[in-house]
Protein backbone atom coordinates (compact mmCIF):
# COMPACT_ATOMS: atom_id res chain seq x y z
CA UNK A 1 0.00 0.00 0.00
CA UNK A 2 1.31 3.40 -0.98
CA UNK A 3 1.83 5.81 1.89
CA UNK A 4 -1.21 7.52 3.32
CA UNK A 5 0.44 10.86 2.58
CA UNK A 6 0.70 10.13 -1.11
CA UNK A 7 -2.86 8.82 -1.20
CA UNK A 8 -4.15 11.91 0.51
CA UNK A 9 -2.33 14.10 -1.98
CA UNK A 10 -3.44 12.12 -5.02
CA UNK A 11 -6.95 11.78 -3.62
CA UNK A 12 -7.38 15.55 -3.82
CA UNK A 13 -5.75 16.40 -7.13
CA UNK A 14 -7.07 19.95 -7.43
CA UNK A 15 -5.97 21.03 -3.99
CA UNK A 16 -2.61 19.31 -4.37
CA UNK A 17 -2.07 20.92 -7.78
CA UNK A 18 -2.96 24.37 -6.45
CA UNK A 19 -0.59 24.05 -3.49
CA UNK A 20 2.17 22.69 -5.72
CA UNK A 21 1.67 25.56 -8.16
CA UNK A 22 1.88 28.05 -5.30
CA UNK A 23 5.12 26.52 -4.05
CA UNK A 24 6.42 26.49 -7.62
CA UNK A 25 5.59 30.16 -8.07
CA UNK A 26 7.38 31.14 -4.87
CA UNK A 27 10.43 29.08 -5.69
CA UNK A 28 10.47 30.46 -9.21
CA UNK A 29 10.48 34.02 -7.90
CA UNK A 30 13.23 33.31 -5.41
CA UNK A 31 15.33 31.32 -7.83
CA UNK A 32 15.09 33.83 -10.68
CA UNK A 33 15.67 36.74 -8.33
CA UNK A 34 18.72 35.16 -6.76
CA UNK A 35 20.14 34.20 -10.14
CA UNK A 36 19.75 37.77 -11.39
CA UNK A 37 21.46 39.18 -8.31
CA UNK A 38 24.27 36.65 -8.70
CA UNK A 39 24.60 37.33 -12.42
CA UNK A 40 24.85 41.06 -11.80
CA UNK A 41 27.61 40.61 -9.23
CA UNK A 42 29.35 38.21 -11.55
CA UNK A 43 29.02 40.67 -14.44
CA UNK A 44 30.62 43.41 -12.38
CA UNK A 45 33.56 41.18 -11.49
CA UNK A 46 33.88 40.29 -15.12
CA UNK A 47 33.89 43.95 -16.15
CA UNK A 48 36.57 44.73 -13.63
CA UNK A 49 38.66 41.88 -14.97
CA UNK A 50 38.12 43.02 -18.55
CA UNK A 51 39.05 46.61 -17.92
CA UNK A 52 42.25 45.04 -16.74
CA UNK A 53 44.10 48.23 -15.92
CA UNK A 54 44.10 50.36 -12.81
CA UNK A 55 44.06 53.71 -14.54
CA UNK A 56 42.69 54.75 -17.92
CA UNK A 57 43.60 57.97 -19.61
CA UNK A 58 41.51 59.56 -22.35
CA UNK A 59 41.28 62.99 -23.98
CA UNK A 60 39.90 65.51 -21.51
CA UNK A 61 36.80 66.11 -23.65
CA UNK A 62 36.01 62.40 -23.88
CA UNK A 63 35.93 62.18 -20.12
CA UNK A 64 33.95 65.33 -19.39
CA UNK A 65 31.38 64.67 -22.09
CA UNK A 66 30.99 61.10 -20.87
CA UNK A 67 31.87 59.77 -24.31
CA UNK A 68 34.31 57.28 -22.84
CA UNK A 69 31.93 56.07 -20.18
CA UNK A 70 29.19 55.63 -22.78
CA UNK A 71 31.44 53.34 -24.79
CA UNK A 72 32.77 51.29 -21.91
CA UNK A 73 29.72 51.09 -19.67
CA UNK A 74 26.66 51.83 -21.79
CA UNK A 75 27.63 49.92 -24.91
CA UNK A 76 27.28 52.91 -27.21
CA UNK A 77 29.76 53.46 -30.01
CA UNK A 78 32.16 56.39 -30.12
CA UNK A 79 35.63 57.56 -30.84
CA UNK A 80 37.93 60.35 -29.71
CA UNK A 81 41.60 60.97 -30.21
CA UNK A 82 44.63 62.63 -28.69
CA UNK A 83 48.14 63.10 -29.96
CA UNK A 84 50.44 60.13 -29.62
CA UNK A 85 52.99 62.33 -27.87
CA UNK A 86 50.77 62.04 -24.78
CA UNK A 87 51.71 58.36 -24.61
CA UNK A 88 55.42 59.14 -24.37
CA UNK A 89 54.79 62.00 -21.98
CA UNK A 90 52.82 59.80 -19.59
CA UNK A 91 55.08 56.77 -19.95
CA UNK A 92 57.92 58.97 -18.76
CA UNK A 93 56.24 59.61 -15.41
CA UNK A 94 57.80 57.72 -12.49
CA UNK A 95 54.45 56.56 -11.15
CA UNK A 96 53.50 54.84 -14.41
CA UNK A 97 54.31 51.16 -14.80
CA UNK A 98 52.66 49.17 -17.63
CA UNK A 99 51.18 51.36 -20.32
CA UNK A 100 49.52 50.45 -23.57
CA UNK A 101 47.58 52.52 -26.09
CA UNK A 102 44.25 51.69 -27.71
CA UNK A 103 42.56 53.26 -30.71
CA UNK A 104 38.78 53.52 -31.01
CA UNK A 105 36.57 53.55 -34.07
CA UNK A 106 32.84 53.01 -34.59
CA UNK A 107 31.63 51.10 -37.62
CA UNK A 108 28.56 52.20 -39.54
CA UNK A 109 27.03 48.80 -39.54
CA UNK A 110 28.41 45.76 -41.31
CA UNK A 111 27.18 42.33 -42.29
CA UNK A 112 27.52 40.95 -38.79
CA UNK A 113 25.60 43.52 -36.92
CA UNK A 114 22.28 45.21 -37.05
CA UNK A 115 23.79 48.12 -35.17
CA UNK A 116 27.09 49.95 -35.46
CA UNK A 117 29.77 48.21 -33.44
CA UNK A 118 32.65 49.54 -31.42
CA UNK A 119 36.07 48.70 -32.83
CA UNK A 120 39.06 48.81 -30.50
CA UNK A 121 42.62 48.48 -31.71
CA UNK A 122 45.32 47.43 -29.28
CA UNK A 123 49.08 47.37 -29.53
CA UNK A 124 50.30 43.75 -29.34
CA UNK A 125 53.76 44.94 -28.31
CA UNK A 126 52.60 46.49 -25.05
CA UNK A 127 49.08 45.19 -24.52
CA UNK A 128 48.36 43.52 -21.21
CA UNK A 129 44.55 43.44 -21.14
CA UNK A 130 43.16 42.11 -24.43
CA UNK A 131 45.80 39.55 -25.41
CA UNK A 132 45.40 37.34 -22.31
CA UNK A 133 41.67 37.33 -22.88
CA UNK A 134 42.03 36.31 -26.52
CA UNK A 135 44.34 33.54 -25.41
CA UNK A 136 41.84 32.37 -22.82
CA UNK A 137 39.17 32.31 -25.51
CA UNK A 138 41.38 30.11 -27.67
CA UNK A 139 42.70 32.69 -30.11
CA UNK A 140 46.32 33.37 -31.04
CA UNK A 141 48.42 36.17 -32.55
CA UNK A 142 46.48 38.46 -34.86
CA UNK A 143 47.77 38.87 -38.38
CA UNK A 144 47.18 41.87 -40.60
CA UNK A 145 43.39 42.40 -41.11
CA UNK A 146 42.51 39.82 -38.48
CA UNK A 147 39.78 40.75 -36.02
CA UNK A 148 38.45 39.22 -32.83
CA UNK A 149 34.72 39.49 -32.13
CA UNK A 150 32.76 39.69 -28.89
CA UNK A 151 30.57 36.75 -28.02
CA UNK A 152 27.26 38.49 -28.70
CA UNK A 153 28.17 39.47 -32.26
CA UNK A 154 26.69 37.36 -35.00
CA UNK A 155 30.03 36.48 -36.58
CA UNK A 156 32.17 33.38 -36.30
CA UNK A 157 35.73 32.30 -36.87
CA UNK A 158 36.40 32.20 -40.62
CA UNK A 159 33.74 34.81 -41.46
CA UNK A 160 34.70 37.93 -43.36
CA UNK A 161 33.43 41.30 -42.18
CA UNK A 162 33.84 44.55 -43.98
CA UNK A 163 34.34 47.90 -42.26
CA UNK A 164 34.60 51.08 -44.36
CA UNK A 165 35.25 48.90 -47.37
CA UNK A 166 38.11 46.99 -45.76
CA UNK A 167 37.53 43.27 -45.51
CA UNK A 168 38.64 41.66 -42.27
CA UNK A 169 38.87 38.01 -41.16
CA UNK A 170 37.34 36.82 -37.93
CA UNK A 171 40.26 35.02 -36.28
CA UNK A 172 38.71 34.37 -32.89
CA UNK A 173 35.55 34.77 -30.89
CA UNK A 174 35.81 35.92 -27.30
CA UNK A 175 34.25 34.25 -24.28
CA UNK A 176 31.19 35.87 -22.84
CA UNK A 177 31.84 38.58 -20.27
CA UNK A 178 28.38 40.00 -19.72
CA UNK A 179 29.75 43.47 -20.45
CA UNK A 180 29.71 45.89 -23.38
CA UNK A 181 32.83 44.14 -24.63
CA UNK A 182 30.57 41.34 -25.83
CA UNK A 183 29.50 43.55 -28.74
CA UNK A 184 32.97 44.94 -29.46
CA UNK A 185 35.40 44.09 -32.25
CA UNK A 186 39.10 43.99 -31.36
CA UNK A 187 42.00 44.22 -33.73
CA UNK A 188 45.65 45.19 -33.66
CA UNK A 189 46.85 48.73 -34.09
CA UNK A 190 48.00 48.31 -37.70
CA UNK A 191 44.64 47.08 -38.84
CA UNK A 192 42.73 49.80 -37.04
CA UNK A 193 45.04 52.40 -38.57
CA UNK A 194 43.90 51.15 -41.97
CA UNK A 195 40.26 51.21 -40.97
CA UNK A 196 40.54 54.76 -39.62
CA UNK A 197 42.37 55.86 -42.76
CA UNK A 198 39.62 54.33 -44.88
CA UNK A 199 36.91 56.06 -42.86
CA UNK A 200 38.74 59.37 -43.33
CA UNK A 201 39.16 58.74 -47.06
CA UNK A 202 35.45 58.06 -47.44
CA UNK A 203 34.62 61.17 -45.44
CA UNK A 204 32.75 59.07 -42.90
CA UNK A 205 34.79 60.11 -39.87
CA UNK A 206 33.78 63.06 -37.71
CA UNK A 207 37.42 64.09 -37.56
CA UNK A 208 39.37 65.54 -40.47
CA UNK A 209 43.08 65.81 -41.13
CA UNK A 210 44.07 62.96 -38.86
CA UNK A 211 47.08 60.78 -39.29
CA UNK A 212 46.20 57.41 -37.73
CA UNK A 213 49.85 56.73 -36.92
CA UNK A 214 49.97 59.83 -34.76
CA UNK A 215 46.92 59.38 -32.60
CA UNK A 216 45.69 57.29 -29.66
CA UNK A 217 42.26 57.10 -27.96
CA UNK A 218 42.82 55.55 -24.60
CA UNK A 219 45.84 54.65 -22.53
CA UNK A 220 45.66 51.68 -20.19
CA UNK A 221 47.98 52.06 -17.26
CA UNK A 222 49.08 50.13 -14.19
CA UNK A 223 50.90 52.05 -11.53
CA UNK A 224 54.60 51.44 -11.02
CA UNK A 225 55.87 49.58 -7.96
CA UNK A 226 55.66 51.79 -4.92
CA UNK A 227 52.81 53.91 -6.27
CA UNK A 228 49.12 53.48 -5.66
CA UNK A 229 46.64 53.77 -8.57
CA UNK A 230 45.35 56.91 -6.89
CA UNK A 231 48.82 58.51 -6.92
CA UNK A 232 49.36 57.54 -10.55
CA UNK A 233 46.02 59.06 -11.54
CA UNK A 234 46.78 62.29 -9.71
CA UNK A 235 50.26 62.40 -11.16
CA UNK A 236 48.89 62.23 -14.71
CA UNK A 237 46.12 64.73 -14.11
CA UNK A 238 48.59 67.13 -12.55
CA UNK A 239 51.40 66.92 -15.08
CA UNK A 240 49.82 66.14 -18.44
CA UNK A 241 47.57 68.65 -20.18
CA UNK A 242 44.36 68.02 -22.10
CA UNK A 243 43.98 64.46 -20.82
CA UNK A 244 41.94 62.96 -18.06
CA UNK A 245 43.09 59.98 -16.03
CA UNK A 246 40.36 57.90 -14.41
CA UNK A 247 40.51 55.07 -11.96
CA UNK A 248 38.78 51.96 -13.32
CA UNK A 249 37.37 51.28 -9.87
CA UNK A 250 35.65 54.65 -9.78
CA UNK A 251 34.17 54.15 -13.21
CA UNK A 252 32.74 50.85 -12.08
CA UNK A 253 31.52 52.26 -8.81
CA UNK A 254 28.72 54.04 -10.66
CA UNK A 255 27.62 50.69 -12.00
CA UNK A 256 28.30 49.12 -8.70
CA UNK A 257 25.96 51.48 -6.89
CA UNK A 258 23.13 51.16 -9.41
CA UNK A 259 23.71 47.42 -9.23
CA UNK A 260 23.39 47.58 -5.47
CA UNK A 261 20.12 49.43 -6.04
CA UNK A 262 18.75 46.81 -8.42
CA UNK A 263 19.97 43.94 -6.26
CA UNK A 264 18.49 45.51 -3.16
CA UNK A 265 15.17 45.96 -4.91
CA UNK A 266 15.15 42.37 -6.09
CA UNK A 267 16.04 41.17 -2.61
CA UNK A 268 13.23 43.17 -1.03
CA UNK A 269 10.87 41.80 -3.64
CA UNK A 270 11.98 38.23 -2.97
CA UNK A 271 11.45 38.66 0.75
CA UNK A 272 8.03 40.24 0.24
CA UNK A 273 6.91 37.54 -2.19
CA UNK A 274 8.21 34.87 0.11
CA UNK A 275 6.60 36.27 3.24
CA UNK A 276 3.29 36.60 1.41
CA UNK A 277 3.71 33.08 0.08
CA UNK A 278 4.32 31.62 3.50
CA UNK A 279 1.17 33.33 4.77
CA UNK A 280 -0.84 31.95 1.84
CA UNK A 281 0.65 28.49 2.38
CA UNK A 282 -0.18 28.73 6.06
CA UNK A 283 -3.80 29.56 5.27
CA UNK A 284 -3.97 26.90 2.59
CA UNK A 285 -2.59 24.19 4.86
CA UNK A 286 -4.82 25.27 7.72
CA UNK A 287 -7.87 25.16 5.49
CA UNK A 288 -6.99 21.90 3.86
CA UNK A 289 -6.33 20.26 7.21
CA UNK A 290 -9.37 21.80 8.86
CA UNK A 291 -11.58 20.43 6.17
CA UNK A 292 -10.28 16.99 7.11
CA UNK A 293 -10.58 17.37 10.88
CA UNK A 294 -12.94 14.48 10.97
CA UNK A 295 -10.60 12.22 9.04
CA UNK A 296 -7.80 13.07 11.43
CA UNK A 297 -10.08 12.31 14.35
CA UNK A 298 -10.83 8.93 12.78
CA UNK A 299 -7.12 8.22 12.39
CA UNK A 300 -6.70 9.07 16.04
CA UNK A 301 -9.48 6.66 16.97
CA UNK A 302 -7.81 3.96 14.86
CA UNK A 303 -4.67 4.35 16.98
CA UNK A 304 -2.61 7.20 15.56
CA UNK A 305 -0.49 8.90 18.18
CA UNK A 306 -0.38 12.69 18.30
CA UNK A 307 3.11 12.71 16.86
CA UNK A 308 2.04 10.43 14.01
CA UNK A 309 -0.77 12.80 13.07
CA UNK A 310 1.52 15.82 13.23
CA UNK A 311 4.07 13.94 11.14
CA UNK A 312 1.41 13.22 8.55
CA UNK A 313 0.49 16.89 8.21
CA UNK A 314 4.19 17.77 7.95
CA UNK A 315 4.91 15.14 5.36
CA UNK A 316 2.09 16.36 3.17
CA UNK A 317 3.27 19.95 3.40
CA UNK A 318 6.89 19.04 2.75
CA UNK A 319 6.09 16.82 -0.23
CA UNK A 320 4.02 19.54 -1.84
CA UNK A 321 6.60 22.25 -1.17
CA UNK A 322 9.59 20.30 -2.38
CA UNK A 323 7.83 19.02 -5.49
CA UNK A 324 6.54 22.53 -6.27
CA UNK A 325 9.94 24.03 -5.62
CA UNK A 326 11.61 21.61 -8.02
CA UNK A 327 9.10 22.57 -10.69
CA UNK A 328 9.71 26.27 -9.97
CA UNK A 329 13.48 25.87 -10.31
CA UNK A 330 13.18 23.96 -13.58
CA UNK A 331 10.91 26.66 -15.01
CA UNK A 332 13.36 29.25 -13.70
CA UNK A 333 16.22 27.59 -15.55
CA UNK A 334 14.13 27.30 -18.70
CA UNK A 335 13.37 31.01 -18.52
CA UNK A 336 16.85 32.17 -17.49
CA UNK A 337 18.87 30.52 -20.19
CA UNK A 338 17.05 31.76 -23.30
CA UNK A 339 15.95 35.08 -21.80
CA UNK A 340 19.28 35.99 -20.22
CA UNK A 341 19.97 38.40 -23.10
CA UNK A 342 16.62 40.15 -22.68
CA UNK A 343 17.16 40.54 -18.94
CA UNK A 344 20.63 41.94 -19.60
CA UNK A 345 19.23 44.53 -22.01
CA UNK A 346 16.41 45.55 -19.71
CA UNK A 347 18.79 46.12 -16.83
CA UNK A 348 21.57 47.61 -19.00
CA UNK A 349 24.09 46.48 -16.40
CA UNK A 350 26.86 43.94 -16.77
CA UNK A 351 25.20 40.54 -16.44
CA UNK A 352 26.91 37.18 -16.52
CA UNK A 353 25.26 33.89 -15.53
CA UNK A 354 27.41 32.11 -12.92
CA UNK A 355 28.80 28.64 -13.56
CA UNK A 356 26.88 25.36 -13.18
CA UNK A 357 28.12 24.79 -9.63
CA UNK A 358 26.67 28.11 -8.47
CA UNK A 359 23.41 27.42 -10.32
CA UNK A 360 23.14 24.01 -8.66
CA UNK A 361 23.78 25.55 -5.28
CA UNK A 362 21.07 28.08 -5.95
CA UNK A 363 18.65 25.27 -6.86
CA UNK A 364 19.61 23.43 -3.68
CA UNK A 365 19.17 26.56 -1.59
CA UNK A 366 15.75 27.23 -3.10
CA UNK A 367 14.63 23.66 -2.36
CA UNK A 368 15.81 23.91 1.23
CA UNK A 369 14.12 27.28 1.68
CA UNK A 370 10.87 25.92 0.23
CA UNK A 371 11.00 22.89 2.51
CA UNK A 372 11.68 25.08 5.52
CA UNK A 373 8.83 27.43 4.63
CA UNK A 374 6.49 24.51 4.07
CA UNK A 375 7.43 23.15 7.46
CA UNK A 376 6.94 26.56 9.07
CA UNK A 377 3.57 26.98 7.41
CA UNK A 378 2.50 23.49 8.50
CA UNK A 379 3.56 23.81 12.14
CA UNK A 380 0.29 25.39 13.21
CA UNK A 381 -1.94 22.86 11.45
CA UNK A 382 0.22 19.97 12.61
CA UNK A 383 -0.01 21.15 16.19
CA UNK A 384 -3.75 21.69 15.96
CA UNK A 385 -4.35 18.27 14.46
CA UNK A 386 -2.27 16.59 17.12
CA UNK A 387 -4.42 18.29 19.80
CA UNK A 388 -7.64 17.33 18.07
CA UNK A 389 -10.52 16.54 20.43
CA UNK A 390 -11.77 13.36 18.82
CA UNK A 391 -14.82 13.21 20.97
CA UNK A 392 -15.95 16.67 20.00
CA UNK A 393 -15.19 16.27 16.29
CA UNK A 394 -16.89 12.91 15.93
CA UNK A 395 -19.95 14.03 17.92
CA UNK A 396 -20.63 16.48 15.09
CA UNK A 397 -23.54 14.61 13.52
CA UNK A 398 -25.07 13.09 16.60
Amino acid sequence: MKSLTLKNLLGRPVRTAALTALAALLSFAVFIGTMIVLSLGNGLDSLEARLGAEVMTVPYEAATKKKFEDVILQGMTGYFYMDKSKLDEIAALDSVGDISAQLYLASTGSNCCSMPVQIIGFDPETDFTVTPWIKKSGGGQLKELDIVVGSDLNAFVGDKLSFYGVECNVAAKLDKTGTTYDTTVFTNIDTIDRLIQSSLDKGMNDFKNLKPENIVSCLLINSADGYSPEETMNDINLHVKKVKALRSKNMISGISSSLDGVSGMIRTLIIAVWALGVVILLLAFTMSVNERRKEFAVLRVMGSSRSKLAGMVFKEALSVCIAGSAVGCVIGLIVLIPFGGAIEQKLSLPYLLPGPAAVLMCVGGTLILAAASGAAAAVLSAWRMSRIDTGLVLRGDN
Binding site: G391, G396, N398
Partner: protein
Protein backbone atom coordinates in the same frame (compact mmCIF):
# COMPACT_ATOMS: atom_id res chain seq x y z
CA UNK B 1 -9.45 -9.74 29.81
CA UNK B 2 -11.26 -7.13 31.82
CA UNK B 3 -11.72 -3.45 31.00
CA UNK B 4 -13.11 -1.53 33.94
CA UNK B 5 -14.32 1.95 34.68
CA UNK B 6 -13.70 2.66 38.35
CA UNK B 7 -15.80 5.53 39.68
CA UNK B 8 -15.16 7.65 36.61
CA UNK B 9 -16.46 11.18 36.32
CA UNK B 10 -16.07 13.50 33.35
CA UNK B 11 -16.67 17.18 33.80
CA UNK B 12 -16.93 19.65 30.95
CA UNK B 13 -16.70 23.38 31.12
CA UNK B 14 -20.14 24.85 30.65
CA UNK B 15 -22.10 27.54 32.43
CA UNK B 16 -24.95 25.79 34.23
CA UNK B 17 -26.59 27.92 36.87
CA UNK B 18 -23.95 29.00 39.38
CA UNK B 19 -21.32 26.40 38.49
CA UNK B 20 -19.16 26.72 35.35
CA UNK B 21 -18.75 23.01 34.81
CA UNK B 22 -21.07 20.04 34.74
CA UNK B 23 -20.60 16.29 34.88
CA UNK B 24 -21.43 14.52 31.63
CA UNK B 25 -20.57 11.24 33.37
CA UNK B 26 -20.91 11.08 37.11
CA UNK B 27 -19.19 8.46 39.30
CA UNK B 28 -19.73 5.48 37.01
CA UNK B 29 -18.31 1.99 37.52
CA UNK B 30 -18.61 -0.69 34.88
CA UNK B 31 -16.69 -3.76 33.70
CA UNK B 32 -16.46 -5.19 30.20
CA UNK B 33 -15.37 -8.82 29.91
CA UNK B 34 -14.23 -11.15 27.15
CA UNK B 35 -17.11 -12.97 25.52
CA UNK B 36 -19.78 -10.67 26.90
CA UNK B 37 -21.90 -8.16 25.00
CA UNK B 38 -22.87 -5.10 26.97
CA UNK B 39 -25.49 -2.63 25.81
CA UNK B 40 -25.78 0.91 27.09
CA UNK B 41 -29.09 2.68 26.52
CA UNK B 42 -30.06 6.17 27.38
CA UNK B 43 -31.43 9.41 26.05
CA UNK B 44 -29.42 11.66 23.79
CA UNK B 45 -27.12 13.84 25.89
CA UNK B 46 -27.11 11.47 28.84
CA UNK B 47 -23.34 10.86 28.59
CA UNK B 48 -23.13 7.56 26.68
CA UNK B 49 -20.56 8.67 24.13
CA UNK B 50 -18.51 10.36 26.82
CA UNK B 51 -18.33 7.11 28.77
CA UNK B 52 -17.47 5.15 25.63
CA UNK B 53 -14.68 7.62 24.76
CA UNK B 54 -13.22 7.26 28.24
CA UNK B 55 -13.37 3.45 28.08
CA UNK B 56 -11.80 3.35 24.63
CA UNK B 57 -8.79 5.45 25.59
CA UNK B 58 -9.80 8.63 23.78
CA UNK B 59 -10.81 10.84 26.68
CA UNK B 60 -9.21 10.89 30.08
CA UNK B 61 -11.63 11.00 33.02
CA UNK B 62 -11.70 13.94 35.42
CA UNK B 63 -11.94 11.53 38.32
CA UNK B 64 -11.56 7.75 38.61
CA UNK B 65 -9.57 5.27 36.52
CA UNK B 66 -9.99 3.11 33.47
CA UNK B 67 -8.06 -0.13 33.90
CA UNK B 68 -7.22 -2.89 31.46
CA UNK B 69 -6.54 -6.05 33.48
CA UNK B 70 -5.77 -3.85 36.45
CA UNK B 71 -3.50 -1.35 34.68
CA UNK B 72 -4.55 2.29 34.45
CA UNK B 73 -4.55 2.97 30.71
CA UNK B 74 -4.33 6.75 31.16
CA UNK B 75 -1.04 6.28 33.01
CA UNK B 76 0.45 5.40 29.61
CA UNK B 77 2.00 8.11 27.45
CA UNK B 78 0.26 9.07 24.23
CA UNK B 79 2.40 6.82 22.04
CA UNK B 80 1.76 3.73 24.16
CA UNK B 81 -1.93 4.44 24.66
CA UNK B 82 -2.33 5.00 20.91
CA UNK B 83 -0.62 1.70 20.21
CA UNK B 84 -2.86 0.02 22.77
CA UNK B 85 -5.96 1.46 21.12
CA UNK B 86 -4.66 0.33 17.76
CA UNK B 87 -4.00 -3.26 18.85
CA UNK B 88 -6.52 -4.01 21.56
CA UNK B 89 -9.53 -1.75 20.92
CA UNK B 90 -11.78 -1.55 17.90
CA UNK B 91 -14.02 1.49 17.72
CA UNK B 92 -17.01 1.99 15.45
CA UNK B 93 -17.58 5.72 15.90
CA UNK B 94 -20.81 7.62 15.52
CA UNK B 95 -21.68 8.90 12.06
CA UNK B 96 -19.77 8.48 8.82
CA UNK B 97 -16.07 8.10 9.35
CA UNK B 98 -14.55 6.98 6.06
CA UNK B 99 -11.21 8.33 4.82
CA UNK B 100 -12.20 9.62 1.42
CA UNK B 101 -8.91 9.32 -0.41
CA UNK B 102 -8.73 5.61 0.35
CA UNK B 103 -10.70 2.78 -1.22
CA UNK B 104 -13.05 0.69 0.89
CA UNK B 105 -10.45 -2.07 1.21
CA UNK B 106 -7.75 0.43 2.19
CA UNK B 107 -10.10 1.91 4.76
CA UNK B 108 -10.66 -1.51 6.26
CA UNK B 109 -6.90 -2.12 6.40
CA UNK B 110 -6.17 1.29 7.93
CA UNK B 111 -5.48 0.06 11.50
CA UNK B 112 -2.71 -2.12 10.04
CA UNK B 113 -1.33 0.32 7.50
CA UNK B 114 -1.07 3.12 10.09
CA UNK B 115 1.78 1.09 11.51
CA UNK B 116 2.85 -0.33 8.13
CA UNK B 117 1.78 -3.80 9.13
CA UNK B 118 -0.61 -4.75 6.37
CA UNK B 119 0.58 -7.82 4.51
CA UNK B 120 -1.04 -10.60 2.54
CA UNK B 121 -2.65 -12.34 5.51
CA UNK B 122 -4.24 -9.06 6.61
CA UNK B 123 -5.44 -8.40 3.08
CA UNK B 124 -7.06 -11.84 3.01
CA UNK B 125 -8.79 -11.30 6.33
CA UNK B 126 -10.05 -7.89 5.15
CA UNK B 127 -11.61 -9.53 2.11
CA UNK B 128 -13.16 -12.21 4.32
CA UNK B 129 -14.69 -9.56 6.57
CA UNK B 130 -15.97 -7.63 3.56
CA UNK B 131 -17.50 -10.85 2.29
CA UNK B 132 -19.08 -11.58 5.64
CA UNK B 133 -20.53 -8.06 5.84
CA UNK B 134 -21.76 -8.10 2.25
CA UNK B 135 -19.53 -5.37 0.85
CA UNK B 136 -16.98 -7.56 -0.97
CA UNK B 137 -17.99 -6.22 -4.36
CA UNK B 138 -17.28 -2.66 -3.16
CA UNK B 139 -13.68 -3.18 -2.05
CA UNK B 140 -12.04 -1.14 -4.80
CA UNK B 141 -14.63 1.63 -4.70
CA UNK B 142 -14.21 4.98 -2.95
CA UNK B 143 -16.40 5.60 0.10
CA UNK B 144 -18.20 8.48 -1.64
CA UNK B 145 -20.09 5.92 -3.72
CA UNK B 146 -21.37 3.92 -0.74
CA UNK B 147 -24.74 4.08 1.00
CA UNK B 148 -25.06 4.76 4.73
CA UNK B 149 -25.52 1.08 5.56
CA UNK B 150 -22.52 0.06 3.45
CA UNK B 151 -20.34 2.73 5.06
CA UNK B 152 -21.32 1.51 8.51
CA UNK B 153 -20.46 -2.06 7.57
CA UNK B 154 -17.11 -0.82 6.27
CA UNK B 155 -16.50 0.95 9.59
CA UNK B 156 -17.31 -2.28 11.41
CA UNK B 157 -14.89 -4.30 9.31
CA UNK B 158 -12.23 -1.63 9.99
CA UNK B 159 -12.89 -1.74 13.73
CA UNK B 160 -12.49 -5.50 13.96
CA UNK B 161 -9.70 -6.10 11.44
CA UNK B 162 -7.07 -6.41 14.18
CA UNK B 163 -9.20 -8.91 16.13
CA UNK B 164 -9.34 -6.49 19.08
CA UNK B 165 -10.04 -7.54 22.64
CA UNK B 166 -12.70 -4.90 23.06
CA UNK B 167 -15.09 -3.63 20.39
CA UNK B 168 -16.88 -0.34 20.95
CA UNK B 169 -19.86 0.64 18.85
CA UNK B 170 -21.44 4.08 19.24
CA UNK B 171 -24.96 4.15 17.81
CA UNK B 172 -23.99 1.59 15.17
CA UNK B 173 -27.51 1.32 13.81
CA UNK B 174 -28.75 4.86 14.29
CA UNK B 175 -29.18 5.61 10.61
CA UNK B 176 -29.77 2.08 9.34
CA UNK B 177 -32.88 0.25 8.15
CA UNK B 178 -34.18 -2.84 9.97
CA UNK B 179 -32.38 -5.30 7.73
CA UNK B 180 -29.00 -3.61 8.23
CA UNK B 181 -29.67 -3.22 11.93
CA UNK B 182 -30.23 -6.94 12.37
CA UNK B 183 -27.13 -7.69 10.30
CA UNK B 184 -24.94 -5.40 12.43
CA UNK B 185 -26.20 -6.64 15.79
CA UNK B 186 -25.92 -10.24 14.60
CA UNK B 187 -22.32 -9.70 13.59
CA UNK B 188 -21.39 -8.03 16.86
CA UNK B 189 -23.01 -10.88 18.77
CA UNK B 190 -20.93 -13.32 16.74
CA UNK B 191 -17.72 -11.45 17.63
CA UNK B 192 -18.49 -11.59 21.31
CA UNK B 193 -19.17 -15.31 20.97
CA UNK B 194 -15.65 -15.56 19.49
CA UNK B 195 -14.24 -14.00 22.66
CA UNK B 196 -14.25 -10.24 22.28
CA UNK B 197 -15.79 -7.95 24.80
CA UNK B 198 -18.42 -5.90 22.95
CA UNK B 199 -19.81 -2.59 24.14
CA UNK B 200 -22.73 -1.11 22.23
CA UNK B 201 -24.10 2.35 22.89
CA UNK B 202 -27.54 3.02 21.49
CA UNK B 203 -30.63 5.00 22.28
CA UNK B 204 -32.75 2.30 20.72
CA UNK B 205 -34.14 -0.50 22.84
CA UNK B 206 -34.06 -3.23 20.20
CA UNK B 207 -30.45 -4.14 21.02
CA UNK B 208 -31.36 -5.61 24.38
CA UNK B 209 -32.22 -8.97 22.80
CA UNK B 210 -28.56 -9.49 21.83
CA UNK B 211 -27.10 -8.41 25.15
CA UNK B 212 -25.65 -10.19 28.18
CA UNK B 213 -25.99 -7.00 30.17
CA UNK B 214 -28.03 -3.88 29.60
CA UNK B 215 -27.27 -0.60 31.32
CA UNK B 216 -29.03 2.68 31.18
CA UNK B 217 -27.47 6.13 31.34
CA UNK B 218 -29.49 8.89 32.89
CA UNK B 219 -28.05 12.39 33.31
CA UNK B 220 -24.53 11.03 33.66
CA UNK B 221 -25.52 8.32 36.17
CA UNK B 222 -25.40 4.62 35.32
CA UNK B 223 -28.36 2.43 36.17
CA UNK B 224 -28.80 -1.28 35.63
CA UNK B 225 -31.80 -2.03 33.44
CA UNK B 226 -34.29 -4.74 34.49
Amino acid sequence: MKLSAENVTKEFIRKTGKSNHFSAVNDVSLTLESGRLTVLNGRSGSGKTTLLNMLSGLLSPTKGRITLDGEDIYALDDKRLSRLRNQRFGVIPQGQTAIHSLTVLENILLPFSLYRESGEAEQKYALELAERLGIAQLCEVRPAELSGGELRRMAIARAVIRRPSVIFADEPTGDLDDENTALVFGFLRELSAQGSAVFIVTHENNAAGYADEVYRMNGGKLEISE
